[in-house]
Symmetry: C2
Subunit: 352 residues, 2 copies
């Protein structure tokens, strides 16, 4: 708990009121924050009959459970009706905690975007965290009605894996000289890493895709942001239903090879791809250079189809040392500003 | 998504500023809400070596994972330094969603308490939701190194179980005439119900207990609120370390039989037990009358030991029809007021 932000000095009412009369106060990264509305809800969900109930603390029970629902929490700041909502979806072995207070105790992209006047929606991927998961195959295997080897694999990233694949440094415990991730707080990131049950979902039709599309439509337009495992989900969501997808932000992932008709459909949606630094500087099971190349190809295909697509490779902007977890890096506010400026220009069409 | 609250009409700045100058505006259940500080963090967590890595989407990896951490999110309203923080912990097969927007789209106890000027902390139990769980036994069983029957049981409450055990009515689909749970929105509650992996934890030393105690100590005093599966956790936390536990609120659970020395220790902590209606009106695997009797006995023992303890059985106050999920019932704000008044009198010692 050493990384919890300490309570801020309370502003005087005069300071507060003075600030509230100016739009500029929304941009502060600390101090009081006025919320127009907040809450949480679910998108989707379907009944599943339970014929092999779990035995345990409560008596065995048959009936129906709900699976494949997606938990979403949101905050709408004051005067947010000027801006398009932003939906953030986390990556592998993580939850929406990704976007909240950073491992070293600074505000995350969620609160930063809110302070910039953006309605923010955080979704826990289907089968993760507050969205729950379908326990059926595990319960069946425990009872012996499903072969144990047929259970879905539960993915859990180790500290050692994360350090290198997330590009904190060339090997575990050793950081790059210009590393932007707050490596002294890596233990706090490890606490965010939880079991990933996406293997329980159909790989060709992850329910999170359709739920992201449904959420964007319900909001009458939203920018969808995906990261890593979910990096390409904004495009996948738009392929299900593009009607609400005002923009697609694809962060640090491999881009898929699509059919020409799919590219034509996605070219109608402004698209930003973002990558950090040291892509070629780590060895391991995953090639960041291959991921980068696949997304360069994707951006080129969108452009050739008449689309508004951009590859934002941070080192080319002179921004060095960013990790895979760039929303938690020490310059996370600067990167958020880049993303917000892109939304303003390419989605909301404001001059900058 | 039909139960999402609709965006509120935006108040004029004049109305807002007028309101902000009065403490009374903090008590509104809608309209802008000013937050002094918000965020999330983890309490606890320990390393576990992974020798049997999962095979799947990513290459098998050995190393360390973090387990038994407890995710906590919080909001501190303006001028909250007048009040003791409140920590809410959810029950079986649920997450902190319990305390947020209700199934029928009203504000939950979390936001209601914040609007009453209370700092609010929501904890996902260890092994649930954003706290993650230890996947080791499942991964071992999948690989054949642990007998499948030795896997922990994953508990999932069915719709049919919840309807009766949560006392919406005498049988599934049939509500009590005076039922306070918004049964037309029961499907939204079912989406909150997620797999419960508490069987992966030691039953005699659930890590959530010590983490609740550590959180209360870190906050320099807090009221701990438990419900159902976690109903007795405030007492269990105080038995680990009473130093930060300013009050224990035990809602709708069975109370444990303790040793005299334990009762003597807990008698130093103001304690409130709360039960809803229809305790004897549902048949099933769980006896609410037995739970009620066990807590009456607990309250009596605390009183005999000189403690400040109260059984708040809502029907005796003329409040009828409350379900097990009373924080989501149609009169949830009224019940929150009762709880706040109890905190004011018995923990903060204000006259009412």
């Amino acid at each position: 708990m050493t990384t919890t932000r300490m309570p801020l000095r309370e502003c005087s009412l005069a300071v507060l009121l003075g600030c509230m009369a100016q739009a500029s106060c929304l941009a502060r990264s600390s101090g009081p924050l006025t919320i127009q509305e907040q809450g949480s809800f679910f998108v989707g969900g379907e009944n599943r009959a339970v014929s092999q109930p779990a035995a345990g603390l409560m008596p065995a029970q048959t009936g129906d459970i709900t699976v494949n629902q997606m938990y979403v929490e949101y905050q709408i700041p004051l005067h947010a009706n000027r801006h398009v909502p932003v939906v953030f979806v986390h990556g592998c072995c993580l939850s929406s905690k990704t976007w909240e207070t950073t491992p070293d105790g600074r505000i995350g992209w969620s609160e930063y975007f809110i302070r910039k006047g953006r309605p923010v929606y955080l979704a826990d991927q289907v089968s993760r965290a507050r969205s729950g998961f379908d326990p059926t195959p595990f319960t069946q295997a425990r009872a012996g009605t499903l072969a144990h080897a047929q259970m879905p694999s539960i993915l859990e990233a180790t500290h050692q894996f994360a350090w290198v694949v997330f590009r904190f440094g060339p090997k575990f415990g050793e950081a790059f000289a210009d590393e932007q991730f707050p490596v002294q707080s890596a233990d706090e990131l490890y606490k965010q890493m939880i079991p990933d049950l996406n293997a329980t979902l159909p790989q060709d039709a992850n329910p999170t895709w359709k739920h992201m599309a449904a959420l964007a439509a319900k909001l009458h337009g939203a920018v969808l942001v995906g990261h890593s495992e979910s990096g390409f989900f904004p495009a996948r969501a738009a392929l299900v239903d593009p009607s609400g997808v005002r923009g697609a932000v694809i962060i640090e992932t491999g881009c898929e090879k699509l059919l020409p008709a799919q590219i034509a459909a996605l070219a109608r949606i402004p698209t930003l791809v973002m990558f950090g630094d040291h892509l070629g500087d780590v060895k391991g099971p995953f090639s960041w250079m291959a991921a980068y190349d696949s997304c360069n190809s994707y951006v080129e295909q969108l452009e050739k189809a008449g689309g508004d697509a951009e590859m934002m490779y941070l080192p080319t902007l002179g921004i060095k040392g960013n990790s895979h977890m760039l929303m938690q890096d020490k310059n996370s506010n600067q990167l958020a500003d880049l993303l917000i400026a892109w939304i303003d220009r390419h989605v909301e069409h404001h001059a900058h």
